[in-house]
């Protein structure tokens, strides 16, 4: 089946990458600045915010799925608005939203830990060289880049492999919202173990390949 390049399979793989890729992009744009802010600044309630963030890192996807389901359903607080920017339930948009909620705490949490590990005197040093507070935060993120990339990898790992949320808000609709993980569940239930295993191998290979790409981004920092 892998060899025959089934168009349906291609569709499933592409949708998986698309949903998790877009979700990861948004999670990075939100999670990295959020994590850096929490790691670098001191504000009232920071400890509580960190506990919330750590809790978010362990969100069960199926609970996130339930939450997004309730929010987006026709009578839910978001679904009832019928606004164009709010994705409808059982669409890839809803899946992206759920995966963002899963990945943001992961990206932010690991980013926070990474920037907190940067030499505390770095900020004083770069500010003395004339950095604005923005430039100083950028310097901390750049110094912690190996850790920030791990944060992004963790976010990706968390969403490409999750099944609970995409199943719940996507519905595993053939040709529309079926992704690799939900397809594996379905094929296993049907007793199509060969197909399920093949899908599993594809999922693992995709994760492996994406990590190879990320590692290249980490570049020389791994070795020094």
């Amino acid at each position: 089946m892998i060899v025959s390049r089934d168009p349906q399979l291609t569709e499933i793989v592409l949708l998986s990458l698309q949903v998790s890729g877009i979700a990861l992009l948004f999670s990075t744009l939100i999670g990295v600045p959020l994590g850096a802010l929490m790691g670098l600044s001191r504000f009232a309630g920071r400890r509580f915010a960190i506990v919330l963030l750590y809790t978010g890192m362990g969100f069960p996807p199926v609970v996130v799925g339930l939450f997004v389901y309730l929010m987006l359903s026709r009578s839910g607080p978001l679904g009832s608005l019928h606004a164009a920017w709010i994705p409808a339930l059982f669409t890839p948009g809803a899946m992206v939203l759920a995966q963002i909620i899963i990945a943001v705490p992961l990206v932010a949490g690991f980013t926070m830990a990474a920037v907190m590990g940067v030499d505390r005197n770095l900020r004083q040093q770069v500010e003395s060289l004339g950095a604005t507070s923005w430039q100083s935060a950028m310097a901390a993120i750049t110094e912690a880049r190996a850790g920030v990339i791990v944060a992004i990898i963790a976010g990706f790992g968390g969403i490409i492999s999750e099944v609970g949320a995409v199943m719940m808000v996507g519905g595993n609709i053939e040709g529309k919202t079926r992704v690799l993980t939900t397809a594996i569940v379905l094929e296993t239930r049907k007793g199509e173990f060969d197909l399920a295993i093949a899908l599993g191998v594809i999922l693992l290979s995709l994760t492996f390949l994406s990590n190879v790409v990320m590692l290249r981004l980490q570049g020389g920092t791994i070795d020094d």
Binding site: D119, N121, L122, Q124, Q125, V126, E127, S128, L129, G130, A131, T132, Q135, A139, T142, E143, R145, G220, T221, D224
Partner: protein, 243 residues
């Protein structure tokens, strides 16, 4: 030459409620090397942070470049960028030596300074190491990168916080001669914090003794060492300081 660069008046600095610095009056002349000496915890580094506008005084004012700054009035970015500090322990970025030296210029949006970077690297004797990762350098080399990174900015005031503590004599000598050249050739005002009174004597035009956050005495270097007016200065310069 006798134009003042800094005028400090009634400066105090408190952390929580603990007072760490109290400078009633201190003028720093443009083009001089002023050494701040005194035991640990005397407030020398705190004073440097105030001069670099990294912290604000709890009370009092600092006049710099004709403008007065205090707890309420912070200098603009342009003014703040007229000063920089080389700290005791250099924090280098995980980049090449060259990128570290270029860093302050890049913060200012200057990208075409290749010749200047090469020249500065040569001045500190690191031209051959330009492309090495900065984290692989020895302590003395790292400190020279920190010095190059600061001096390439051509600051009005260069603040040196124990720049050669824990370094070998070769690097101490190198750093001292770079600082001295910078002062003589470019007229850079240097404020040097040091534990080492011999270093103060070699480099400085004037020396100030700080004890427990207060300036005990400021005098020209010769007078400070040969005919100090305060008995505590005499005790300090003779290594008899008890505190």
């Amino acid at each position: 030459m006798s134009e003042t660069l800094y005028e400090l008046r009634g400066i105090t600095k408190k952390y929580d409620k603990r007072s760490v610095l109290r400078v009633d009056e201190l003028d720093i002349e443009r083009g001089e090397i002023l050494a701040l000496v005194g035991p640990s915890g005397a407030g020398k580094s705190t004073l440097l942070r105030l001069l670099n506008f990294l912290e604000t005084p709890s009370s009092g004012s600092i006049r710099f470049h004709g403008e007065i700054f205090d707890a309420a009035r912070q200098p603009s970015l342009d003014i703040r960028r007229r000063v920089t500090t080389v700290f005791q322990r250099p924090v280098l970025l995980r980049r090449s030596v060259r990128a570290n030296v270029a860093y302050g210029l890049r913060l200012r949006g200057e990208r075409d300074a290749d010749a200047r970077i090469d020249e500065t690297l040569a001045q500190v004797g690191l031209a051959e190491m330009a492309h090495q990762p900065a984290r692989t350098l020895s302590g003395g080399e790292a400190q020279r990168v920190a010095l190059a990174r600061a001096m390439i900015l051509r600051p009005d005031a260069l603040l040196l916080d124990e720049p050669s503590a824990n370094l070998d004599p070769y690097n101490v000598g190198l750093i001292e001669s770079i600082a001295s050249d910078l002062n003589q050739e470019q007229g850079t005002t240097i404020v040097l914090v040091t534990h080492n009174i011999f270093q103060a004597r070699r480099l400085a035009h004037r020396v100030a003794l700080l004890l427990e956050g207060r300036i005990i005495e400021v005098a020209d270097v010769e007078r400070f060492f040969t005919a100090p007016s305060d008995p505590r200065t005499r005790a300090f310069t003779r290594g008899e300081m008890i505190y």
